[in-house]
């Protein structure tokens, strides 16, 4: 979606404010929000792409106003309600309805699972549509749903720098329409191709882009 989250190249956001000796969480509630987001993922009611889309769907003014973990809280509530893990009534009253369940994610499991992770590669035979070194153009796609094709690169030409192999495709996965595994490439775009003649002739931006985002240039 062409949301405010797609920030690459925007002006007016101000200087980068760096905090020395920054704590991992600035308040205990931030840690609880982080941990609830991770833990609730183990009910397998959504995937990482649907979860990212949950943040993107926060209205733009709220998105810009909210702190990072406030966005995570808002996203989590949205996913919990949408997936039916909790009801509106429960959320409003704070009181559970129905029989008590058993969490799939225990403390012992937490450390083990985080240490393993879950790869997004898929071992399926899909032919790459592009070769390393080939000139490609990012397609001018404007889906209303989730996509990882930023606006600033659409319509721009670059060259395939590396073929990462076959990965889950976020646009369909976010909507539970299937993983549609396909090749993912690192594509190099010259800074001048993206930003015009004012940009340094030496500089470049690399993006990881799926087959479906690209066409021959």
């Amino acid at each position: 979606m062409n949301g405010v989250h797609d920030m690459g190249g925007m002006h007016g956001m101000g200087p980068v404010e760096h905090e020395n000796n920054e704590p991992v969480f600035h308040a205990p509630w931030e840690g609880r929000v982080f941990a609830m987001n991770v833990a609730m993922g183990f009910w397998r009611k959504w995937n990482i792409d649907a979860s990212r889309h949950g943040v993107e769907q926060i209205p733009p003014a709220d998105y810009l106003r909210m702190s990072y973990y406030e966005k995570w809280f808002t996203r989590l509530v949205g996913l919990l309600l949408k997936s039916g893990l909790i009801t509106q009534g429960e959320f409003a009253s704070g009181r559970p309805e129905g029989a008590k369940q058993t969490p799939p994610f225990t403390a012992a499991k937490a450390v083990e699972t985080l240490g393993k992770g879950g790869p997004y590669t898929r071992n399926v035979a899909v032919a790459p549509r592009f070769q390393v070194g080939q000139r490609v153009r990012a397609r001018n796609l404007n889906p209303a749903g989730h996509t990882r094709l930023p606006r600033y690169v659409r319509g721009r030409a670059g060259a395939v720098h590396r073929d990462h192999g076959v990965f889950v495709f976020p646009d369909t996965n976010a909507q539970f329409l299937g993983e549609k595994p396909q090749h993912l490439y690192s594509v190099r775009f010259a800074a001048r191709e993206l930003w015009g003649e004012e940009a340094s002739p030496r500089d470049s931006v690399y993006l990881d882009l799926w087959d479906d985002y690209l066409e021959p240039a």
């Binding site: 760096h18 509530v77 959320f91 559970p96 992770g117």
Partner: protein
């Protein structure tokens, strides 16, 4: 007043009841049997105390002292980083990009906050902020200057926008005058910011 509180006074104000709303949600999830509070404690403890930039610093220091390791790291970062025991969530598919006197690398996620958790822990606020995400791709040299890194025109800047599940770690240049340092002493010099690409490693760091 800390800088963070200062930021909160200017447009990033957290509603005073947010902490209460978070607590209410956690109570509901616990009472409904959806979440184990001890699992939440374990998750928080992991990223507050166990997984952080010291991991990445050990990777970089090893690459500085062991050329064969460095070669493996640049060829297959995920496997080379796993050799040191660092693997898992948000580190499943790692890429390491090397700074040289001619090339400077900078990592960003313009769309959200993708960051290599296994080697750097959770990202700092500035990395997730609108100013960094908007500007890193269009004005990397300006952003770097604000961080105190003034690159000459003849150095090539490569910005890596983490748009997929690849996670990027910058291999900074080893500073001059460190030939006599041990791997452990080298690791102590290496900062999170240098591994994101917004700083260089200095001997007095």
């Amino acid at each position: 007043m800390t800088q963070h509180q200062h930021e909160h006074d200017h447009g990033q104000d957290v509603p005073s009841d947010l902490a209460l709303r978070v607590k209410a949600l956690e109570s509901l999830l616990v009472e409904k049997g959806l979440v184990d509070p001890a699992a939440l404690d374990a998750l928080i403890d992991t990223y507050e105390h166990k997984v952080g930039p010291r991991n990445g610093a050990r990777v970089v220091a090893r690459a500085w002292v062991d050329p064969a390791y460095k070669q493996r790291l640049l060829a297959d970062a995920t496997a080379a980083i796993a050799e040191l025991g660092y693997m898992g969530r948000q580190g499943e598919h790692m890429m390491v990009v090397e700074n040289t006197p001619k090339v400077h690398n900078l990592v960003v996620c313009t769309l959200c906050s993708c960051y290599p958790w296994t080697v750097l822990g959770l990202p700092p606020v500035w990395y997730k902020s609108a100013p960094y995400r908007s500007r890193a791709v269009i004005d990397p040299r300006g952003v770097l200057r604000e961080f105190g890194v003034d690159l000459p025109e003849n150095v090539e800047v490569r910005v890596w926008d983490s748009t997929a599940e690849l996670r990027y770690l910058v291999l900074p240049e080893r500073p001059a005058g460190t030939a006599n340092l041990t791997e452990e002493e080298l690791a102590a010099l290496i900062t999170r910011d240098a591994m994101v690409g917004v700083a260089k490693v200095g001997v007095s760091a």
